[in-house]
């Protein structure tokens, strides 16, 4: 097999998760040769396991064939992880760089606290998507649940469907783009004008996520009204 196109298949129903993650971290595992620098990895039969492919630090293509549990691809750096199924709580939480793609739906807190990289959820994401996001880009093909982008500090969240209650509550400087309806806006989150730079930024994000046919002009931008940044006596109880 050509080393450049080699693929390692690991069955999570027979290879322990810790061994799989150790291999992905470049640590020695008995009975398994180390992964080549260009070797991609396919993980089969995840059966809803937690912490699949977490903490990756090197560039690598990883495909997970099935539904995963909590914190899948958490803390990712530089790797590109594709989940061919649904993801549980906290997929790609604290991602630093690279990309994570969920072909199905994601549970709550997708992309929580993530600093960088691109998270694409092709289906819906549940509550608190992008909570405390710190620089990640998140593109959701469907809708997001309540309290999404809560305390979002930096980065961009794109929602092709609808957003639930309290979108962007206590938001800092993240930029939110929603095509559908917003059930309600959270404290200090307001709709804003779409300028040429925003349309260009959104088009780039949609293209990166594989949704380049969307018209960016059909989206609304939301962000911080910046009224909570400084103490104001009217906000005191």
């Amino acid at each position: 097999m050509d080393a450049l196109t080699a693929t390692r298949e690991l069955d999570l129903s027979t290879v322990p998760l810790r061994s799989v993650n150790a291999l992905l971290h470049g640590r020695p595992v008995d009975g398994h040769p180390p992964l080549g620098p260009e070797e991609s990895v396919v993980l089969t039969r995840p059966r809803g396991a937690h912490a699949v492919a977490v903490g990756l630090e090197e560039p690598r293509q990883v495909r997970v064939e099935g539904h995963v549990g909590y914190y899948a691809a958490g803390m990712n750096q530089r790797a590109d992880v594709v989940i061919e199924g649904n993801a549980g709580v906290g997929v790609a939480e604290n991602m630093m760089s690279g990309s994570v793609t969920v072909r199905g739906n994601a549970s709550q807190s997708a992309g929580a606290t993530a600093h960088g990289g691109l998270l694409v959820v092709e289906g819906d994401a549940a509550a608190r998507c992008g909570i405390s996001m710190k620089g990640v880009d998140i593109v959701v093909g469907g809708s997001v649940g309540h309290m999404s982008a809560f305390m979002a500090q930096a980065g961009r969240l794109v929602v092709r469907g609808d957003a639930g209650d309290a979108l962007g509550d206590s938001i800092y400087e993240a930029r939110l783009y929603v095509r559908g309806s917003v059930a309600s806006l959270g404290a200090d989150c307001v709709a804003k004008q779409m300028g040429p730079a925003h349309l260009e930024e959104l088009a780039g994000l949609l293209k990166a996520a594989g949704f380049e046919d969307d018209d960016p002009a059909t989206y609304t931008r939301y962000g911080s009204a910046r009224s909570l940044y400084h103490f104001h006596t009217d906000n005191a109880y």
Partner: protein
Amino acid sequence: MCGIVGLHLRDPELHPRLGELLTGMLCEMQDRGADSAGVAVYGDPRWSPPGRVSVSFVPPARVSTRAQGLLAGLLGTDVVVVPAGQTLVAHVDAAVGVEALRTAVAATWPEALLAGFGADVAVLKGVGHPRDLAEDFGLPAAQGWQGVGHTRMATESAVTPGGCHPYAVGSDQCLVHNGSFSNHATIRRDLRAAGHVFDSENDTEVGARFVADRLAAGYDVETALKELCGTFDGFYTLLVSNADSFAVVRDAIACKPAVVAETDAWVAVASEYRALVGLPGIEQARLFEPEPERIYAWTR
């Protein structure tokens, strides 16, 4: 953290496999709580034969083999007592009535915990590891059309059989809970004032007695659960079942997890997807997470 599971079988061909499937679901959720566990099984021929009514109870210590004779003597009729781990299931002819059997159990073992009662349900509880308890209950061999289970990590009250879920405080009803109620003491006080008697200091028991109170007042399960959402503060995913149905509801901020899977043959609910992977046809099931404060109910 606790784990909850529920399985409602639509396809009668699966009824003989209820216990096997429920055991797999329960044991997968033991990581979410391993101090105690309980299950409610609807329609098992060992515990709930047709034409009989049963009372499930946990005696304070292992009772003598004379249990059957003691109850039969008191009731003046044939009584069958089936051991299921730390729980015993006594059943009598339906004509005797479940109230008479409950009274006889309470008179014979005043310290016993009444785990559940009715024509169709057996409620089995125990302190220990869920996998060991499932074996002790004889759960893998159970049959029937519906079952719910709970693996407990105690936060609100002691690790005792009285703290175990399910709470089955009305005939053929039961309730399991992942989460915690914060205003249960206030509501317990109101229910006590209205005449309800409690078995424990557990928060979930308050929820179960609240639902049973509303059902007894003629509410349907959806209305009862809506009122629960408006009355109780806290975090919860609740699974509420009776002889013909089960229902799921999550708190307003959906703090606690739940996944529903549905096929033509069954409906299943669990705290996490991994509890569902052993169900036949899971690959084709429709999967979703319940929306906050929306009540989902299935009937047969």
